[in-house]
């Protein structure tokens, strides 16, 4: 059976790939397109390490079929920094040591950006609920939550 031809946009770049009907978007990103920043933790939508946005909506790429990317705009962790210039969330995660082993970090960054794009003044509780689908087994979460709060505060300051 012929493979499915998919035309999509990934991090602003028009991209084509061939895939099977039951391949996930995560599989194609990592194994075919070499975008290995999105991680496979659980493969069942529980851990959030594969978080990407599809048409602006935060999703687990392990629970999206690759052919569903047809005509969509996909944003992955690889599109977050502009060249050498880190995104404010990436900078703050480094500054505040909001990561240890790093496996969950791309997912946390993508999910945190999706939150701050909607709400630049989230409460700590709102951040914790928003990020409940991102699991981290190293940090104990506090540093991540504080980093997101700091970036939100900076965003509000610079919007003044």
């Amino acid at each position: 059976m012929a493979k499915i031809h998919v035309e999509t946009t990934i991090n602003g770049a028009p991209t084509e790939f061939l895939c099977e009907a039951n391949q996930t978007l995560l599989d194609v990103l990592r194994d075919q397109l070499g975008l290995t920043g999105s991680k496979e933790g659980c493969g069942s939508g529980d851990c959030g390490a594969c978080s990407v946005t599809v048409d602006g909506r935060l999703v687990c790429s392990c629970l999206v079929l690759a052919p569903e990317a047809q005509g969509a705009k996909v944003e992955t962790i690889e599109g977050m920094a502009q060249g050498d210039k880190l995104h404010p969330l990436q900078k703050k995660f480094v500054e505040m040591a909001a990561l240890q082993c790093g496996i969950c970090t791309p997912g946390f960054l993508i999910a945190s950006r999706a939150l701050l794009e909607r709400n630049n003044n989230p409460t700590e509780t709102e951040i914790r609920y928003w990020l409940a689908g991102n699991l981290c087994r190293c940090t104990g979460y506090d540093k991540i939550i504080h980093a997101v709060m700091e970036v939100a505060a900076e965003m509000r300051e610079s919007a003044k």
Binding site: G45, R57, V59, E68, A111, W130
Partner: protein, 293 residues
Amino acid sequence: MTDILYKVAKTVREAASLMAAAKGKGRILAGGTDLLVQMKAGMVAPGTIIDVKKIPEMVSITETKGSYRIGAATPAAVIGEHKKLKKAWPGVVEAINLIGSTQVQGRASAGGNLCNASPAADSVPALVAAGAIVTIQGPKTRRTVPVEKFTSGPGKTTLKAGEIVVSLTLPARPKASGDAYLRLIPRTEMDIAVVGVGVSLTMKGDTCVSARVGLGAVAPTVLLVEAAAKALTGSKLDATALDAAANACSAACRPIDDKRGTIRYRTKIAGVLLRRATAIAADRARGISKQGH
């Protein structure tokens, strides 16, 4: 190489035809948050995956004279962002927004939650309380069924060959109505209900003039508890009425004993949640905004 087909349906009729043509091996792809997990676990092996998200009727919310029609594949996050729907049916929207994480919310749908047919599905007790009607498309005809009659057991629905769920319709609300959904889970987020209770009420002054109660995770299917509704209707939601309604919920329980909760615990909690959900629904009916989940 696999022999699985991926088809994007453009119309509801096309989706139903593809479903019929797949001869029992068709699977509808809405958000995929159950389907993909089940495929990976080897629990299902579809011959044809039918993506219904390009069908406008299945991914939109429309209002007609106070009645809301929610497309079966509309993502939970989109439902949560619909301010008018949330104002009319806060309990239904909260229940739908309890399904999974933010990422899961971006994909999961009320239609999928219903078709997965888990007795613990969070959206279903609230939809039962709301009196939601399920619209079903077959290869030739459409039919409707009350949501409480849709499932027949854990993982089992009453859909016939070639039928798909198109939408859920919530009736127009009389004035002074309110609803609420509460569930008990051992943690604060991302877990499966041990018990879930949905209550929808209409008040006239201090008197409850109509009520519906949906009860989840305590029987093979989500239950409509008519005896509890009867105990509330015509009362001032006083202690006697609440006792009777709580007892009716406990009496309706036919739960399993498992690691999440014992039979005794679930049976007791069903009554506790009925009281709390009723209080929130009544406050909402009186125009007092109250946070449920």
